[in-house]
């Protein structure tokens, strides 16, 4: 499974990849359910509609502008330094021009990236639940879809990171078939930037005492969403292995098994950790652990043996609930969906683990370079862009709107109009 090796792409692989990519949106649907369930009931409709809005904005921005940067080809923008060619951006055509006549594999890559940008945009939306305004969510999605994700995707899948193998003899270069880096780690970092800029929900961190618990309003959504996400993740990882790792179709069963192993091991670990920590297992943290396992599989499923995938998921499942808790209690990070831990940290761990457990020598160094690029460059860039965007479109809803709830304030109605509304006990 050497990335970017010039292998032919037979029609059977094309058909298989297309079918898998048609199933991949199940991951997005599952994540949307998780985000809605982890938010409050008075913001549920805004969260669900917002998911559609941010997906639409991100996809349109990507196809109109981002694809030109993300696409890889002979005419990419290359910087020559230290005797090497650094392919730092694509030089495709704007507004999706030439798509119909592009080679079949390029079209599949575009479809993969379109789904990826939808996922990236959803991650910070979930973290801004209960206070992030819809126009701000759309603005964030546009920035991610038009500029940030395309650059990360180009580097990871066809640019200088992917070419670390040919240019610097670092195994097959940065390997990330399912997009743990440009999708999940980037999404997690964007979520952190949104949380920092928008601030915590009102009443979350009172003047005295510990932070206020604000549990999700529907854990059944969260758990069912986690199951739905598994279907999409299986398809996503298999399609990614075919497209970016040049895996043979006969290797896909291992990819699928690795995906399931990582998720299940993570769930067992989180179940046990929360059982020991709180006396009873915590359902929403278990969902977070399951998703963290899936996120690690995005990096690992195509390159590591099954036992390693199980171990990687196990570690993610142990660390994720502790991280979610400490981010809130120690670091004052109000992240309703746990995206910084589930996507950011688990994505980072998955990428490093893929390097450690992959059989190719030099893979670990290539993975570390990729992680360093995403963390060191993308977080400051994303924070800077969002900080500027916040001046144009205020991220945070006003105090009155937050008190009313995002549904009533932004949409004029409630997701559950027959609910009896209780006094909010979290304001103290």
């Amino acid at each position: 499974m050497t990335p970017l090796a010039p292998v032919p792409y037979p029609e059977t692989s094309f058909a298989l990849t297309l079918v898998l990519l048609l199933l991949a949106p199940m991951a997005i649907a599952g994540l949307a359910l998780v985000n809605v369930g982890l938010g409050r009931s008075r913001s549920a409709m805004q969260s669900a509609l917002g998911t559609l809005v941010v997906i639409s904005t991100a996809v349109i921005a990507f196809v109109l502008a981002g694809w030109a940067i993300a696409s890889g080809g002979d005419k990419d923008l290359v910087l020559h330094a230290a005797g090497k060619a650094w392919d730092w951006a694509g030089a495709g055509r704007l507004f999706g021009a030439g798509l119909a006549s592009a080679p079949a594999r390029d079209q599949l890559m575009l479809l993969f990236e379109v789904l990826s940008v939808a996922m990236v945009a959803m991650i910070p939306w979930g973290s801004g639940a209960d206070r992030l305004r819809l126009p701000a969510g759309a603005g964030i999605a546009a920035v991610l879809g038009a500029a940030v994700f395309p650059l990360a995707a180009h580097w990871a899948w066809s640019g200088w990171l992917a070419q670390l193998g040919t240019n610097f003899s670092m195994a097959g270069g940065f390997a990330d078939g399912g997009g743990a880096g440009p999708i999940h780690m980037l999404g997690g970092l964007a979520a952190l930037a949104v949380i920092w800029i928008a601030g915590p929900r009102k009443g979350k961190f009172p003047r005295e005492g510990l932070s206020t618990a604000m549990p999700g309003h529907n854990v059944v959504y969260v758990l069912f969403g986690s199951l739905v996400a598994l279907v999409g993740w299986l398809a996503w990882n298999m399609a990614g292995a075919l497209l970016w790792l040049n895996a043979a179709p006969s290797k896909l069963v291992v990819v699928a098994i690795n995906t399931v192993l990582a998720a299940t091991a993570a769930l067992v670990a989180t179940f046990s950790v929360t059982r020991v920590r709180f006396g009873k297992p915590d359902a929403s943290l278990c969902a977070n652990g399951w998703l963290a396992g899936l996120v690690t599989s995005s990096a690992c499923a195509g390159v590591v043996p099954p036992l390693a995938a199980l171990f990687v998921g196990l570690v993610a499942g142990i660390v994720t609930p502790l991280m979610v808790e400490s981010f809130e209690l120690v670091l004052s990070i109000d992240d309703p969906s746990g995206a910084v831990s589930v996507h950011g940290a688990a994505g980072l761990w998955g990428l490093i683990a893929a390097g450690v457990f992959a059989p190719a020598a030099g893979q670990a160094a290539a993975q570390l370079v990729g992680v360093s690029t995403l963390l060191g460059l993308m977080l400051p860039v994303v924070y800077g862009l969002f900080w500027l965007l916040d001046w144009v479109i205020a991220f945070r809803v006003d105090a009155d709107g937050e008190r009313l709830g995002m549904d009533l304030h932004e949409l004029g109605g409630n997701a559950y109009p027959e609910f009896v509304v209780h006094r909010d006990e979290s304001y103290r």
């Binding site: 330094a81 961190f205 670091l331 160094a365 370079v369 963390l375 060191g376």
Partner: protein, 59 residues
């Protein structure tokens, strides 16, 4: 303080890029890439610390 931390982070990235250019040996290269990551981690730590200070002041 938060901005100072965020400004330090790209320095770690450039250290990583310098490592892959300057060191052909795998061990040295990996060590310097890890140093780059450590610089990024320090920058992130400072940024998080800055965020916590701001939060405690705003309470």
């Amino acid at each position: 303080m938060k901005y100072a931390g965020l400004l330090v982070m790209p320095a770690g990235f450039f250290l990583t890029v310098a490592a892959i250019v300057l060191f052909p040996g795998a061990a040295q290269r990996t060590a310097f890439v890890l140093c780059g990551l450590a610089v990024e981690a320090m920058g992130l730590g400072v940024a998080v610390r800055g965020h916590m200070q701001l939060r405690s002041e705003n309470r």
